[in-house]
């Protein structure tokens, strides 16, 4: 099967089904469709797919299942509920689908922490080339999203990173200032980026020293901005205990960063950024962040 890389539409070739497959698989697929459709609808809503994108995704997923002769469904042997299994199947397909949709572009950590809406905003501006005002308009009109403080902060950061292109006549171009930053500002920026890389590298090393569950908790909380309640449910841990665990982990990280020679100011700046973009207004976690940063 081949896809048009721009539209992701199937463009050629008949579909061949293994003749050994039987009608039972097909019946299983058809009987599972309501669950699949429900999961797909939720996933598409969460990822802010437009109606067309959602329809395309759903159709391609169904085609994917059929073309592989319902293998995914046949493999299922009841070690979890069918719904949870199908949810994982859909997410697995989404992972590859997203790669095809995005190409080489990847969202920044800050956009990821804001979830699908942050990723969408960044994608519209950075990957698709819309101006910030156009992207905001698209978010509002097509996806019903209004910018909150966190999205606005992301928008400001993206706008600073990506000065919009202006098309002007050749004559007018002579009189225009370059949108590029002055050289002294660039020097400061390079220094900041170097420092940030150093801090993040140290943070990665500190994380690697934690046990897997602790790394997972930090990843879910601060890389993806998941709510503490969701993490507690997913990892089957007590929510109140999880708040304390996060607080402890941040303190451990701070100590390790200090041990690596990071200054308190650098650590404070790092944690302030993480807490700012990660957070639902969890008092305890924010408190933990403040505690870790202080």
């Amino acid at each position: 099967m081949s896809y048009n890389p721009r539209t992701l539409r199937v463009i050629s070739g008949p579909v061949h089904i293994d003749s050994r497959s039987d009608v039972t698989d097909e019946k299983l697929f058809l009987s599972s469709l309501p669950v699949i459709n429900d999961v797909v609808a939720q996933v598409c809503r969460r990822h802010r797919f437009s109606a067309n994108e959602a329809e395309e995704f759903a159709a391609e997923l169904r085609l994917h299942l059929i073309e592989r002769n319902y293998e995914r469904l046949r493999k299922f042997d009841g070690r979890c509920s069918l719904r949870t299994y199908l949810t994982a199947v859909v997410q697995n397909y989404l992972y590859d689908y997203r790669d095809r949709l995005w190409g080489k572009w990847r969202p920044s950590a800050q956009a990821r922490r804001l979830g699908p809406t942050g990723i969408l905003l960044e994608r519209l501006v950075i990957r698709d080339g819309w101006t910030m005002s156009q992207a905001i308009e698209i978010l509002q009109t097509n996806h019903g999203v209004t910018l909150d403080a966190k999205l606005e902060a992301l928008a400001v950061r993206i706008a600073a990173r990506q000065p919009g292109r202006q098309i002007v006549s050749e004559r007018a171009a002579d009189g225009m200032d370059s949108p590029a930053s002055p050289s002294d500002v660039n020097v400061v920026r390079v220094e900041q980026e170097f420092l940030a890389k150093r801090v993040y590298a140290a943070l990665d090393r500190a994380r690697q020293a934690l046990v897997p569950e602790e790394r997972l908790i930090l990843k879910m909380r601060f890389d993806d901005g998941m709510a503490v309640a969701d993490i507690a449910r997913a990892l089957d841990v007590n929510q109140k205990r999880l708040y304390r665990t996060i607080e402890r982990l941040l303190a451990v990280l701070r100590a390790r960063l200090e041990a690596e020679g990071m200054s308190k100011d650098d650590i404070r700046a790092l944690f302030a950024e993480i807490m700012e973009s990660a957070g639902d207004p969890d008092e305890s976690t924010s408190g933990a962040g403040r505690a870790a940063a202080s």
Binding site: V43, S81, P212
Partner: protein, 295 residues
Amino acid sequence: MTPEAMKQHTDCPDLETIGAYLEKRLGRTERAHVTEHLADCERCYFIFSEAAQVKPAGPVEPAGWRERLLRPVVMWPSAGALVAAAAAWLIIAGAVVPSPSMESPASAALVAAVGTERPVEPRLTGGFAYGPVPGALRTGTPLTFVASPDVRIAAALVEKEATARRTPQSLKALGVAYLVMDDVSRAVSVLEDAANQPNPDPRVLADLSAAYLVRGTRSNRPQDFASALAAADRAVSLDGGLAEARFNRAYALERMSRPDEARRAWEDYLRIDDKSGWAEEARNHLKSLPGASIR
């Protein structure tokens, strides 16, 4: 983790293991292994974290799915299963198209998936809705029908049905599916097989006529137009009221540059259908013929 569980990629747990992890159904050791893996594997972490954020509410699991899985292999579908499959596919396609009783559920799903798109210029039997012939680009290149995923799914089902049960009806459906999927040579071959059965269905002949017409136009083979006319004539002799056969007959005569006969054939068509989009198209054909009078 058990070796069976680590089979998807190099050492990734399979999707069911991730599901079991989410539902807290794993043993302590296996759970610890999966946790360790999730902390470091981007793909598995994505599946896990995204699945964790999907709300559990929704349709309940289909009743008895596991029992069906455990049953012995059944190669021949029951009529009830086919009706259920048809209903489901009509829901997928999002449209309900009245289907003649002879058409299989998969064929009905194909008709529904095609909707008002026009895969080929001649008429196909089976209840395809009218859709205008696609135009052409300014360069003269004709715009071609691009099969949507739903059409491909339905075509795959037709193919599967024909593989499981080789009857004139399933061959006819397969030929139409190939034609819709732009595999014209296979369409002709399969429809010829179906037409070579004793007492062929006139609709098979009408579709064969359509397939010849498409192949003749694409490959510039005049002999295909003659074959199309012969097939359409046979179909009309068996069922004079079969609109698709009359449409294709007139179209074949037009392509063979026999304007007088083509005019009469289009008028014959309009006698049995003067209201549909097809009728409007027939009138346009009539208009384009030299010296034609329009009803």
